[in-house]
């Protein structure tokens, strides 16, 4: 079972999936982003530091979350991406869409 640690840091919501962001966890993540954005928190940082794996469903949910945030003038940034998770971004060319920030702090501090 994948857990999602969520905290508010500055003006952004930081979501940290713990475990696998796969076809089981992806709908949970997607609705979490939708709720966050609907509550007015349009700046979202996805902290991958505790995410051991992502599959195509998880990746689709990240793309959907980015679109949901941008539709209301916000953004979804990714941080602490490594190993197999980053391999999935490069394999699908989504490394051209997302800039991977080395830390949550840098994702929060980067200009919009």
């Amino acid at each position: 079972m994948t857990d999602f640690d969520t905290r508010i840091d500055g003006g952004a919501v930081v979501i940290r999936p713990v475990g696998r962001l796969d076809m089981v966890a992806a709908p949970v993540f997607r609705s979490l982003v939708d709720q966050t954005v609907a509550a007015g928190n349009v700046q979202v940082v996805l902290d991958f530091s505790a995410t051991e794996f992502i599959d195509s469903s998880g990746l689709g949910a990240v793309v959907g979350g980015l679109k949901a945030a941008r539709q209301v003038g916000g953004d979804l940034r990714i941080a602490c991406v490594s190993g197999t998770v980053w391999t999935v971004f490069t394999l699908t060319t989504l490394d051209k869409v997302f800039r991977a920030y080395p830390s949550v702090e840098e994702a929060l501090g980067a200009p919009g």
Binding site: R20, S56, S57, G60, V63, G64, T87, L91, T93, V97
Partner: protein, 136 residues
Amino acid sequence: MPRAEASTGELAADNAVLDAVHAALRALWAAASEVDAGDRALFEIAVAEVAANIVQHGGGAAVVVLDLAADGEVLEARFRDTGAGMEPAVLAAAELPDVDLEAGRGLAMAKAALDELHYERLSDGNQWTLRRIRRA
């Protein structure tokens, strides 16, 4: 290196398959510790995508089994399941969608991560064969 093997055994084809698939991969790497991290990552991605495809689009598969093997040259996986399966042309046609789409990447990712990906309908189910030649 000697040939290393791991298997899930027969599983009910539901979401819990993914736990068993990742556990079998961990067992394979424990027995084949010299396999490079890059080869592992791409092979894991492909195996997980095929497993997810069987659970989600396998035509009501009831039982699935995954057998894994690694040697000095190649990483191999074989899935067999009891579902009605899918149209084989789906695999041939699979390609990555535009980057802003939220679905439709699974089999294209598996193809991109492997050297060979075969799907066959059998009389009593389906068989997938995955092969990645080790780069390192």
